[in-house]
Symmetry: C2
Subunit: 102 residues, 2 copies
């Protein structure tokens, strides 16, 4: 089971890129990228988009990894975690079928 950080690091290294090079492209300090890769900090959505560009990763796939990481982390310590996901799925379907008029 790969985390977003692991995916990013593996891809960056396989392309021979340095932290500072990639960080410069993201317009953040390399310290943050270092932490993102070790799952010490979470990337922003913006980070994810730019990372998928420079590392030639599929944008949607990386976004899915990013969001699923966030959710998994959020509920992992609840023993009702899997029910939460099931109910969330129903709610998402409902929300998409009944969009809010705004």
């Amino acid at each position: 089971m790969e985390t977003v950080g692991q995916i990013i690091r593996a891809k960056r290294e396989s392309q021979g890129l340095l932290l500072r090079q990639v960080a410069a492209h993201l317009d953040i300090d390399q310290a943050i990228l270092s932490k993102i890769e070790r799952n010490e900090r979470k990337p922003t959505k913006e980070n994810i988009f730019k990372l998928s560009q420079i590392l030639k990763l599929d944008k949607d796939e990386l976004l899915i990894q990013f969001m699923s990481d966030k959710i998994a982390y959020e509920i992992a310590d609840e023993d009702c975690a899997s029910r939460v996901l099931k109910v969330a799925e129903k709610k998402v379907k409902y929300l998409r079928a009944h969009p809010i008029k705004s």
Copy 2:
């Protein structure tokens, strides 16, 4: 599809309790509870626990509603929402099978 707010309001009213009575039990201003019931603000976990006590709702069930609301809201506007949930489920299983030593 009921929101947490709707569940709370329905139960509070069925018990003939006033906003200020329940809010006092939660140790928050009744304005907040009013907003929680109308889904204008999200309850904290602490709020959820105390609400389940005073309203005699199942604590786990209310927590599930609370967390699934949060997640559904978080991803509803992504078109990869259902994949996110599937991947999240895998990650949760993995995390629970491989707990972090701390």
